[in-house]
């Protein structure tokens, strides 16, 4: 069972089961599909409809990576059927051994880095919290992951002598954001216009929307209380939320 932890709105209610998070509630890039060229329609539709099977990772590795991805790019606010697939996209890249054009001299191959890195994270979980990573509380999972983010793995693990931890972190997160922000539902979330050929844009200045784009409707929200990954910088921002209710 997937562990979940919900962000909170200004009234203190859990934000969950959203079809579309973000500040552009009625905006849909896919609704514009008919005005795209055929090749783009094909590629973007295939991304939405054809989710590749997991073939590179073992079942255990896949379960572990899924739990990690859920913290690296959490989607707890999204409805289950509006969750953007990330694990299958990473698996596909590794299964086909698709490269990004280079490997750092001090890094093993992407495949090996994933295999070793995942094993290290699980062993760190067992050592520090005496349980496999997937069984940890979300707070403990994030505590471990944040130590990788900060470049100070806690507890130390020998794999990070072999693989620079900041490079592993960048590899993993890069793959996650590439999968997430390449998805039309993520474009809708952030108000990106999406494919725009052959129509193009006519309102270039002052952030004005095209007739088929929508205005921004901002709302305040804060990350789940047990999360350590938000960027809200000042404590004041965080304090302005008074959480209550059924978290």
């Amino acid at each position: 069972m997937k562990k979940r932890s919900f962000p909170i709105d200004a009234a203190g209610n859990a934000i969950r089961d959203l079809n579309q998070p973000g500040y552009y509630p009625d905006f849909s890039t896919m609704r514009q599909k008919k005005s795209w060229d055929a090749a783009t329609q094909r590629v973007v539709s295939a991304r939405m409809q054809q989710i590749p099977p997991v073939r590179f990772f073992t079942a255990d590795e896949a379960q572990l990576l899924e739990a990690i991805i859920d913290r690296l790019l959490p989607q707890d606010d999204r409805a289950q059927n509006r969750t953007i697939p990330i694990l299958p996209v990473i698996d596909e890249r590794l299964f086909t051994n698709a490269l990004n054009g280079f490997r750092y001299e001090d890094m093993p191959s992407d495949r090996e880095a994933y295999t070793l890195g995942l094993r290290a994270i699980d062993e760190m979980a067992r050592k520090r919290f005496s349980a496999p990573f997937v069984q940890l509380t979300l707070e403990h999972q994030e505590t471990l992951l944040k130590s990788l983010h900060d470049g100070k793995p806690d507890p130390a693990h020998q794999v990070w002598k072999q693989i620079p931890v900041h490079r592993f972190w960048a590899l993993l997160l890069d793959d996650c954001v590439t999968a997430y922000y390449a998805h039309p539902w993520a474009w809708d979330e952030i108000g990106f216009g999406g494919p725009a050929y052959p129509r193009g844009y006519m309102r270039l200045e002052n952030g004005l929307p095209e007739p088929w784009e929508t205005d921004e409707l901002r709302y305040e929200w804060r990350a789940p209380l047990d999360s350590k990954s938000d960027t809200v910088s000042s404590a004041d921002d965080a304090k302005s939320f008074q959480p209550r209710g059924d978290r």
């Binding site: 783009t40 054009g101 922000y181 390449a182 108000g191 052959p198 844009y201 200045e205 999360s227 809200v232």
Partner: protein, 573 residues
């Protein structure tokens, strides 16, 4: 009801209005062509076009595909991954360069397929930085030797921009500037507040009005993903069609593995792998390597043989050395108001106010300030590096995507011997050793980057940003097979002819001795046109003589692609 007319069957499209001239010539492998060009990118595309027009038998072997822009290209970030050179390379050193993605192309058009198409000229000072500042090295030519080619190529590809570009050798542009987008407005606003001169709407090799069989820009912001519109120049659409019309062959999916030598020490062709992995040999009377700053030295190193044990054209030992990248720090600023940075070409507005050496600063040379326009995936990566964003923080900052504007530093990093391309132990899919790239920043580079980064952050705040962050990164690879007068310290002469082998040439970004803080694309085009004029003027003597004539060939105005005539380069007399 279909909005678009049905596609014509079996036509190879190069933009919505242009098709590939058919049929294309096919030279037999075992019959020598005059010129075999390795790589059909920025330089290779111009060379093959000029040489074909002059009547030479010429084939360009290109490792990647021959793009059909309607079928192969998409208006989508992730779907454009195949435009890049994705094969393995190893990167290291104290400041390792991220390779792949937008610093190296694969396919006809090469990097010009996914360049942002900023086309500033180099400044006159760029050609003599050793004389002026005691750093780097001088070019074996001056700005004034190249200027007629800058002007000609600005008309050929053609360049849109302001009527008056005030820096370097001031000049105007054949096509008018583009309308201002949100990010360009931020650059102009910030610079204006600080009293820094800026220009907007170019110079870019993007059409602001239709040109022959190419339509104008539609401002969709997908320049780096290959311009389906056909408004942004790439040699795929500017020079290659004309080359084929005039009898050239472009042989795509042909990965050259080795340049071969005759007993008399002259090259006689190349070995290559076709799309199915079969080995072939193409005989040629002369070979021009146009594989860019990594693949060019790699091929020459991989062509080592008993008479050239350290690689071809490497008696100086400088092959692979003096590799350069430009500092490409991205400064992102968050604004209370909406920007929508995905609209309009990423290459949009710039300032070269800090380009030249300023003795009041503690470093030589300088930098430019330019707009950049990352689409969502690229922007998320920048936020990961610039802010350490992850988890809910990543989701939050990305929800504000439309509130951010991004400006880039484009800073001159000097040529250093220890920045180099060598062969790694690892092999690629053909069993060929891959390139290993080593990169270290030196003191001058670090001071320049620090100053440039701070200045651009200042501009961003002056424009009204409430939060400013920056990511350290690099752009544009050049050098590694540099040109020079002295065969002991350079690989090729000022026309790209290797010092060691009289019928082996190099023509691409790798021959640049220094790089200024201008995007290198226009300069590479201009150098290729000049080398072509030299080869044409020298005629058959290239194929049998070892005599090295260093006199200027004189520019040919009769070899340009169609639609070049009747355009002008505005300037004050």
């Amino acid at each position: 009801m279909a909005i678009f007319p049905p596609a014509q069957p079996n036509t190879h499209r190069l933009g919505p209005m242009q098709t590939l001239p058919a049929p294309m010539r096919r030279f037999p492998d075992n019959e020598p062509v005059d010129y075999c060009i390795v790589g059909a990118g920025c330089a290779g595309g111009v060379l093959v076009q000029r040489l074909a027009r002059a009547g030479f038998r010429v084939v360009a072997l290109e490792a990647g595909p021959f793009w059909d822009t309607e079928k192969d290209w998409v208006s989508d970030e992730k779907g454009s991954h195949e435009l890049y050179w994705n094969d393995l390379r190893i990167t290291g050193g104290k400041d390792p360069l991220a390779l792949g993605s937008n610093n190296c192309g694969k396919g006809v058009g090469g990097g010009s397929v996914h360049w942002a198409a900023f086309t500033p000229r180099f400044h006159p000072s760029d050609f003599r930085i050793y004389t002026e500042d005691g750093v780097g090295t001088d070019w074996p030519m001056s700005y004034w030797d190249l200027k007629p080619y800058y002007e000609l190529l600005e008309r050929e590809i053609p360049v849109a921009g302001p009527a008056w570009f005030p820096w370097g050798d001031p000049h105007g542009h054949p096509y008018g500037p583009h309308p201002l987008g949100g990010v360009g407005d931020v650059l102009v606003r910030g610079c204006a507040k600080l009293g820094i001169r800026s220009v907007a709407g170019g110079p870019v090799a993007i059409l602001s009005a239709s040109h022959g069989d190419r339509p104008h820009c539609i401002y969709r912001g997908f320049c780096l993903q290959g311009c389906k519109v056909g408004a942004k120049a790439s040699t795929l659409i500017t020079h290659v069609p004309d080359a084929i019309t005039h009898g050239a062959e472009i042989r795509a999916r042909s990965m050259v593995s080795r340049i071969t030598l005759r007993n008399d020490g002259r090259v006689d062709g190349v070995e290559y792998f076709d799309a199915e992995g079969r080995e072939h040999r193409q005989l040629a009377r002369a070979v021009i390597v146009s594989g860019y700053a990594i693949e060019t030295p790699r091929l020459l190193l991989n062509s080592a043989c008993p008479t050239h044990p350290h690689g071809l054209a490497n008696s100086s030992g400088t092959l692979g050395k003096y590799l350069m990248a430009q500092a490409g720090n991205v400064v992102a600023g968050r604004f209370d108001e909406l920007i929508r940075l995905y609209k309009a070409p990423p290459a949009h507005a710039l300032s070269e106010e800090f380009y030249e050496t300023d003795t009041s600063r503690d470093f030589a040379r300088g930098f430019a300030i330019q707009t950049v326009g990352p689409l969502p995936v690229a922007f998320a990566r920048q936020m990961m590096n610039a802010m350490g964003a992850w988890g809910w923080g990543m989701r939050r900052v990305m929800m504000d995507y439309n509130h951010w504007a991004t400006l880039g530093v484009l800073g001159e990093i000097l040529p250093w011997e220890d920045n180099r391309v060598e062969l790694a132990n690892a092999k690629d899919q053909y069993g060929l050793p891959v390139a290993k790239v080593t990169f270290n920043l030196h003191d001058n580079d670090k001071k320049l980057i620090e100053f440039g980064k701070r200045k651009v952050m200042e501009v961003m705040y002056a424009a009204g940003a409430t939060q400013v962050v920056q990511e350290s990164r690099y752009a544009h690879l050049v050098g590694a097979a540099r040109m020079g007068k002295d065969p002991a310290t350079s690989v090729v002469d000022k026309f790209g002819r290797s010092h060691d082998i009289p019928n082996l040439f190099i023509c691409d970004g790798s021959i640049l001795p220094t790089q200024g803080s201008a995007n290198p694309g226009l300069t590479i085009h201009a150098l290729a046109a000049r080398t072509a004029d030299y080869l044409i003027q020298q005629g058959d003597s290239i194929f049998y003589s070892s005599r090295r004539d260093q006199s200027e060939p004189g520019i040919r105005y009769d070899l340009s692609p169609p639609f070049t005539r009747f355009k002008g380069n505005p300037r004050l007399a």
